[in-house]
Every structure is written in C-alpha cells, then in structure tokens.
C-alpha cells in the first residue's frame, strides 16, 4: 500500500517538474521580446528541476539504503543562482539596448 502511494508521488513530482520545465522553455521560445522571455526560464524551469529533484529524493530515500538528501543541494544551488544570472542577463540586455516590444510601459533607464 505505502509503496504504491510513494510510487504515485514520485511519478507525480516527476511529471509536474517536467511540465514546468517544458512550459519555461516554451515561454523562452514563444514570447515576443527578450525581457519577457527572461521570465520563463528563471521561474518555471528552476521550479521544474526542483520538482524532479524532489521526486528523485523521494525515490532514492525509500529504497532501503537510508535517507538520500544530496540532490537537494543541486536544487538549492539553482534557486540561489537563477535570480543572479537573470539579473546579470537583464543588465547586459539593458547595456546592449536590446529591442523591446512597443506596448511595454515605463522606460528602462535608471
């Protein structure tokens, strides 16, 4: 019984994670300008990988070899670095004056 529940949870985490990662990449492919594209990968893809890693933690922790939490390190690292690389990319785009969709309100000059 409990094995079925765990197996179900692992499968659920894997599918949710993969779906988010896919949606993030879809956003990268179909949104119209650079700043909008930035939103997909920084949020959805990071969480997607986080979800899959939760699935992996659950899977390897319940095989009888004891708790296995080291995958969380990857996820933690991604959650810390994703905003930093997004910020730096945005800065570079501002510096290079990348094209912006016309309907964007406000101006990007600090």
């Amino acid at each position: 019984m409990i094995e079925t529940v765990i197996e179900f949870l692992v499968a659920l985490f894997l599918l949710i994670g993969a779906a988010f990662a896919f949606v993030g990449s879809l956003g990268l492919a179909r949104l119209p300008d650079f700043y909008m594209r930035l939103h997909g990968p920084t949020k959805a893809t990071t969480l997607g990988v986080g979800g899959m890693i939760l699935g992996s933690v659950l899977y390897f922790s319940t095989r009888g070899d004891g708790l296995s939490l080291h995958e969380l390190l990857v996820s933690l690292f991604l959650f810390i670095t994703a905003p930093v690389s997004a910020h730096m990319l945005a800065k570079a785009a501002l510096h290079l004056r990348v094209r912006i969709v016309e309907r964007t309100r406000g101006n990007p000059d600090v």
């Binding site: 988010f20 949606v23 949104l31 920084t42 949020k43 004891g66 390190l73 905003p83 997004a86 600090v110």
Partner: protein, 164 residues
C-alpha cells in the same frame, strides 16, 4: 540576534558549511559529522579576512518564516507564469517599473532583488548606482503602483525588520 565570536567569526557561514558538507557526503555517520564540524570551524577562521563585513541578522526565526513563505509564493508564482505563457502572448501587458528602496543593507537588497526575480511575473533588471531604485520588469501588469505597494508590504517590510 546572531552574534559572532572569536571562535566562530561567521556563525551563519559555519552552519551552512556544516549542512552542505553533510549533504555532499550524503551520510549522517559520526565520522562525517566530526569532519563537517572541523570544516565549519576552520574554513571561516582561515577565510576570515576575505569576508568584508558580516550581515547582521536581528531575527533569525523571522528569516526562516520568510523563507517558508517565499517557497509557497514561488509555487504560486509558477502557476501564474505558466498560465500567462500558455495564454496568447499578444494579450500580455509588460512594463518596466521603478521601485524606490527603503532598505540600506546590501545583503537585504540582494535578498529582495532575488525574491522579486523568483516571484509572480517580475524580474529585477538593474539597480541604480546610489542603490536607491530597483528597476523591475513585469510580464503582465494592470496597475504598477499596486504591484509596488504589494512588493513593499509583502517582502521589503519583513526584510527591513530582519536586517535593520
């Protein structure tokens, strides 16, 4: 408030090193605990001069509460962004907004900028040279002022309490 001593100049760094080491070796045996402890004491001691100033955390418990709420908000943010991406992109209303900062502490500003990047439809893009204004790009926004008020109340106020 977490205080530093001569023996442990950076308590937070030590704690992080201890946990990360245990995660890396992926075991909780006495041997790896001991090695983690040794590393947690020695590394901050020898890299002491490398860290210019310590962030002062006045309320560690509140920082943890903040982290938990952030995790929940990240979940909500992702559902929100996923819906926006799947909807037709032509209907999105992107905007650049300037948010004046009340925070002065560098660590707090960094945390706020990262928080903004990880939560609903916003990415922090740049910060002015005098560190008083944060430039934010929003994927889809109706009322920019309401969004700024929301960020200030939800994230900036708790950070100000924790760090200043």
């Amino acid at each position: 408030m977490i205080r530093s001593s001569r023996f442990l100049p950076h308590p937070l760094l030590s704690l992080t090193l201890f946990i990360v080491w245990l995660l890396l070796v992926n075991s909780l045996s006495a041997g790896s605990m001991l090695l983690a402890l040794v590393l947690a004491v020695l590394v901050p001691m020898f890299s002491h001069r490398f860290w210019p100033d310590h962030p002062r955390i006045h309320r560690p418990l509140q920082l943890m509460a903040y982290g938990l709420r952030l995790l929940r908000d990240i979940g909500i943010a992702n559902l929100h962004v996923a819906r926006l991406i799947l909807r037709s992109p032509a209907r999105l209303r992107p905007a650049f907004i300037h948010m004046s900062l009340d925070l002065r502490d560098d660590t707090a500003i960094t945390l706020l900028a990262s928080t903004v990047s990880l939560t609903p439809g916003t990415v922090s893009a740049d910060i002015s040279l005098d560190r008083r204004t944060l430039l934010i790009h929003v994927l889809d926004v109706d009322d920019p002022d309401a969004l700024i008020a929301d960020i200030k109340q939800r994230y900036e106020a708790p950070l100000k309490e924790i760090f200043e």
